[in-house]
């Protein structure tokens, strides 16, 4: 006799007599739907949209970071387990070590964004006649971003180099991840690079050396032939 499971979150502790299995059990990803912000304040959201639009500018290769949904992606990630270092070892004492010992700060990604975005606007207002980051020209935004990147711009009270690495990684993850997470809208990045997506069966292609795969790109929950 084997135990039935009510949901994948409450797995049976005792397993005997057979494989514990229930039809329909599973934990599919929850699709992100744009509209509203779950973590960012309206001003933070505008700042992040402006930022991702410079990291991934719109051009003939793809829409910009904002239209690809990168800010939505980051917002939903920060509102979830990622934003609060869920799963991390968070016991103290916290102390800085060597570079090889890895990050030791208790400041979560969500906290980092909140502090850094506020400090960014304060810094911009000070340098650009009272304009926040969103009020700058594209050239000026790029100058600010490069300053964060090369360490010449240090925001007050913020590990600026670390914040730049964080927002760059999150933006690129949002650009390249499955669209179900709110970014990579319409598989824009996958179409740009030539990745056909979540096809499970490439057996027909393993022998087709140096040939372009002509499968239409698909994500976990979207394919041009599927109806909504």
């Amino acid at each position: 006799m084997w135990l039935l499971l009510s949901s994948s979150a409450a797995r049976a502790a005792l397993i005997r007599g057979g494989i514990p299995w229930k039809p329909g059990a599973g934990d599919p990803p929850e699709a992100v739907t744009p509209g509203g912000w779950k973590y960012f304040t309206p001003q933070e959201a505008l700042t992040v949209e402006a930022f991702v639009d410079r990291l991934i500018p719109a051009d003939e290769l793809s829409p910009g970071g904002k239209d690809c949904g990168c800010a939505v992606f980051i917002d939903r990630q920060l509102a979830g387990p990622y934003g609060r270092f869920a799963g991390y070892y968070m016991s103290g004492p916290f102390q800085e070590g060597t570079k090889q010992q890895g990050p030791q700060s208790p400041v979560t990604p969500a906290q980092q964004y909140r502090k850094a975005l506020a400090a960014l606007d304060t810094d911009c207002r000070g340098k650009y006649s009272g304009k926040a980051f969103t009020g700058l020209s594209d050239e000026q935004k790029d100058t600010v971003i490069k300053g964060l990147e090369d360490g010449s711009l240090k925001l007050d009270g913020v590990d600026s180099a670390s914040f730049f690495k964080l927002i760059l990684k999150d933006t690129q993850n949002g650009f390249l991840a499955d669209p179900i997470y709110g970014g990579n809208k319409d598989m824009a990045s996958w179409k740009m690079i030539g990745f056909p997506g979540a096809h499970y069966d490439y057996s027909a292609w393993i022998d087709k050396h140096n040939q372009q795969v002509t499968l239409p790109p698909i994500g976990i929950n979207n394919h041009p032939n599927w109806s909504q």
Binding site: A13, P20, L61, S91, N173, I193, Y202, I206
Partner: protein, 592 residues
């Protein structure tokens, strides 16, 4: 106060590869077996179904199938002059969790070690003289030979249905296989996997340079297969979401696809998941295990008495549990005394990026499996003359690129801006035409006096027990070796026609944030006498004869291959010793 449960014949700690194999063997022998797994139950249809298994963000970037550091982590320092700090999130290695253990998410690269790997100290001393070896290198012979293990390598490969091309059949070298491998008694159970363009081009270039390339032995099967237990696996579809992921297709060998369906139906087996063993209990002589204590999800403590205890957790945690349970003597690097924690090793990995002309080369990197690839073994182990090279050791070299997953496949030529329009253009221009094989040079990591495992004095787990502390750094020998192998790989990339090559040899200090396989070994090593090892040749504890300790913690040093084939072979070798010798006459199997 722990609640005492009814006695079992065998208590197994961990339901990964070795726990599953040993449970199956000992239930066959008629014993009552309970396995305690601290992670959740996992099965293909529920946990990695085809509808959403290919989720790079969830499984590769956010590591959902892996052990959470909040449940258990480790601390790390390069040497005794530093304070070890917690690994707050995984980097250099990614540790499994749940039923199936690392067998769920591994690449399925299924290698055998070389015959000389098992007699490494004797062999190198004989060939080069003892002063050729660094005087703080602590390599030693294993106490078993390749010939001892060959039938058990065979057993593990036939359990898995491993796809490969034999290179040495009973002493006769076979074309198309690895000419350096030890003699095998029969061919692989299934033919090798098909290879992609990049892998095939590597093989062609390697041949042109005078090497003998062969397909990497793969636990992602080339065809449907029914194993000796009657469990059926499917044919791999080269989906490119292999390592780090569960296989939705039943075509990657794992405990789930090879053993558990049979094991779980036996009336004399019971699995308890989300039950964390906190201690192996000893009687008042300290020489006999009485069972284990564990905690379930309610936080309640249980005592599970058993006549035989098999420690089948991941290598690091085997050592941690031995130390926490007071079994054996903890190793002290100052005095050199004590066996538990000694000879801790990892794997020396390096690679090179090969950028090719995008108008001439399309490698379709996303058409791949976790163990696909063409390899050469000319520079592994002692397959080549080291006399003038100033190092010992080596590794296989191969085009073993496993995927084109977008977040991970963003290599662009040096000097490309990290963001903006130029970055986008470079991403587009290079995605399909770059060889980016992270595991290209997969080399040995020999053991040293100052690389070891111990209990951390400061940082604790959620039960208040000390975390295991890693003290590890690279030595000159491994750095020299890595440079040598990387140069050889780069030469092959050049022969392939790469227009730009960026060498990425391993550099010190050892960095716990940079992924370099999860092949962590040693700390409870096997050997021929109690003075030089924690376990005898059957993986039986010298200190506590009714305790056996499985896994790569038994390796005295690491060879230039992925470890799982050898872990599986040792599990079958130990199972045979337990069944044919120990059960009829419990007690020490070796009197040294």
């Amino acid at each position: 106060m722990a609640r005492k449960l009814p006695r079992k014949d065998v208590a197994i700690i961990g339901l990964g590869w070795t726990g599953s194999i040993l449970a199956d063997e000992l239930t066959d022998a008629g014993l009552n077996v309970v396995a305690l797994e601290r992670g959740p139950w996992r099965d293909t249809a529920t946990d990695f179904p085809i509808s959403y298994a290919q989720d790079e963000l969830r499984y590769r970037i956010q590591h959902e199938l892996f052990l959470r550091n909040s449940q258990m982590s480790v601390t790390f320092r390069n040497n005794v002059n530093q304070t070890a700090l917690p690994v707050r999130t995984w980097g250099a290695f990614m540790l499994g969790n749940g039923a199936g253990g690392a067998g769920v998410h591994w690449n399925a690269e299924t290698w055998r070690f070389l015959p000389t790997d098992f007699t490494l100290k004797s062999h190198l001393t004989q060939r080069y003289g003892v002063s050729f070896l660094p005087n703080d290198m602590t390599i030693q012979d294993w106490g078993v030979t390749f010939a001892d293990l060959e039938p058990h390598y065979d057993e593990f490969e036939y359990l898995c249905g491993t796809s490969g091309q034999a290179g040495n059949l009973n002493g006769e070298i076979q074309a198309g296989g690895n000419p350096f491998e030890g003699p095998r008694s029969r061919p692989y159970p299934t033919p090798p996997q098909k290879q992609g363009y990049g892998h095939t081009l590597f093989a062609k270039a390697a041949e042109e340079l005078g090497y003998k390339p062969f397909p990497q032995p793969s636990g992602n099967l080339s065809q449907a297969y029914t194993n000796p237990l009657g469990v059926r696996l499917g044919k791999c579809t080269y989906c490119g979401f292999c390592e780090w992921f569960g296989c939705a297709n039943y075509s990657k060998a794992s405990p789930q696809t090879t053993v558990l369906p049979v094991l779980l139906r036996k009336s004399n087996f019971e699995g308890r998941t989300e039950c964390e063993v906190t201690r192996i209990n000893l009687d008042n002589t300290g020489k006999r295990a009485t069972g284990v204590t564990y905690v379930d999800t309610s936080g309640e403590e249980f005592e599970q008495p058993a006549d035989l205890v098999l420690l089948c957790a991941f290598s690091l945690f085997n050592v941690q549990l031995l130390l926490l349970s007071g079994i054996g003597t903890p190793y002290d690097p100052q005095t050199g005394q004590g066996q538990i924690g000694r000879n801790f090793t990892h794997q020396v990995m390096s690679s090179a990026l090969g950028f090719f002309d995008k108008d001439k080369y399309n490698f379709n990197p996303f058409v791949a499996s976790g163990a696909i690839g063409m390899c050469i073994d000319e520079f592994n182990g002692d397959n080549f003359d080291h006399s003038s090279l100033g190092f010992v050791g080596g590794g296989y070299i191969g085009q073993v690129q496993t995927n084109g997953r977008p977040i991970e496949t963003t290599a662009v030529p040096p000097g490309t801006p990290a963001w903006g329009k130029e970055w986008k253009q470079a991403l587009k221009d290079n995605y399909l035409s770059t060889i980016n094989s992270g595991g290209a040079c997969h080399a040995s990591f020999y053991s040293y006096r100052d690389n070891y495992l111990s209990l951390d004095p400061t940082y604790k787990d959620r039960f208040g027990r000390p975390l295991v502390r890693l003290t590890i750094d690279f030595h000159d020998n491994e750095i020299k070796m890595s440079n040598f192998l990387t140069d050889k790989y780069a030469e092959i990339l050049k022969q392939m026609g790469a227009k730009q090559i960026v060498k990425q040899p391993r550099k010190g200090p050892y960095d716990v944030t940079a992924y370099q396989t999860s092949h962590l070994n040693g700390g409870a090593i096997m050997g021929d006498k109690p003075g030089n090892s924690a376990l005898n040749r059957y993986l039986q504890s010298w200190d506590v004869p009714n305790l056996f300790v499985m896994g790569a913690s038994a390796f005295p040093q690491n060879a230039g291959y992925n470890p799982t084939g050898t872990v599986g072979a040792l599990a079958y070798w130990a199972a045979k010793a337990i069944r044919s010798q120990y059960l009829t006459n419990p007690g020490p199997l070796v009197h040294a």
